[in-house]
Symmetry: C2
Subunit: 220 residues, 2 copies
Amino acid sequence: MDISHTEENYLKAIFKISERDGKPASTNAISTEMNTSAASVTDMVKRLSDKALIHYERYRGVTLTELGEETATHLIRKHRLWEVFLVDKLHFSWDEVHEIAEQLEHIKSAGLVERLDEYLGFPKFDPHGDPIPDADGNFVIRKQVLLSELKREEQGVVVGVQDHTTAFLQYLDRMELVLGTPVKLLEYFDYDESMRVLINGEREQVLSKKVCQNLFVQKQ
Amino acid sequence: MDISHTEENYLKAIFKISERDGKPASTNAISTEMNTSAASVTDMVKRLSDKALIHYERYRGVTLTELGEETATHLIRKHRLWEVFLVDKLHFSWDEVHEIAEQLEHIKSAGLVERLDEYLGFPKFDPHGDPIPDADGNFVIRKQVLLSELKREEQGVVVGVQDHTTAFLQYLDRMELVLGTPVKLLEYFDYDESMRVLINGEREQVLSKKVCQNLFVQKQ
DNA sequence: ATACATTTTTAGACTAACTTAAAAAAATAT
DNA sequence: ATATTTTTTTAAGTTAGTCTAAAAATGTAT
């Protein structure tokens, strides 16, 4: 009994929603995430339940079973490793790799992921700073805060993004706010919740509320 | 109007059959190649014809249109480049890569293949010695003959296989008859059409008719 | 040239994944 | 607590890709 491409995508969506909301994924939430109708979700949810990948009782929302969660984290592992491959080896930029990795994550092969992991030097984070789960599905937890949470004169290093859109990633490239860049909060403007920051110890820049609330930093 | 995974596989099958038989691919030949029923082929062949990928008249067999042929050779290009990646970079053996490449060849992305090609150093042949078409679909034609066609005392270098099965590839590994190995025909036995050959200039070995008829060499 | 064999197509039906529209259940508000 | 809104499910139908069985067309052999 193997799992289809589509079923895998549902599992990922359910995993993502449960993580984000900290509660069972509702039919509606899944339909929004998957861009399908609620009716399709109900349909699929029955199939996934039959395959013991999720717990489902009608009108009650769904949670992943152990098997379902393993499957989901394994997909995330593959997705993020392929993203590293695309950026590190094929020199794609970080805003180009999501759609390709979305396809590559479904490749089925005993051994491929592990060999890829080794080939890439066992990276712990993907090009967007998201942690890559190990073969057992364990994520590295990193102490990170949003840039907007820094206090005046506090310093941090850019470690990840909350917003993964192309527009945001390209904006960050333009601002040279890549992963690993040191930042220091110089001044906070109450008026529009923007911030003046020192980037890379050499350049001052005012960043909007939206930017500051979508950039993760690790305090130094 | 894009092409499904399944449609792509049919195009590859039709390309392969047409190449091999030098005539339009029959419904039966396709159904054998694809492991489906003849009825399914008739069905699919109508769809492919509607998409202008093949020429089809009922009871007449099918040929690829220019678009269909481009699609098929592009798939072969992707398949073979991924095989090189799997062997050269991830250190899979040549008998393990076919099924994985069979999946990887369907990844859709503008630019991925070209970047992969460059990353691999623009290889002209895959790990089995099959030529990799260029971006325009042109294959390098190599002057090669079957080992069984060598005359006594003639020398050659192993350049490819006709039989791509795991069993044959593993046999060749055991015999150290990898690509690039020099061979020289010492003696031909009429009785069972086997041959005594000098492998790598250092070791004599009797090879069966079947082996000799499935190994390509380039005369020296 | 008719008969037989083979190949191909049609007909009807199945599954997975999807849809819309209507019905039912649950949540919310007064 | 009843009415209204929202969410979820059911019902019925679609498409892609598959199947088996039967019908039709083509090919072959005497």
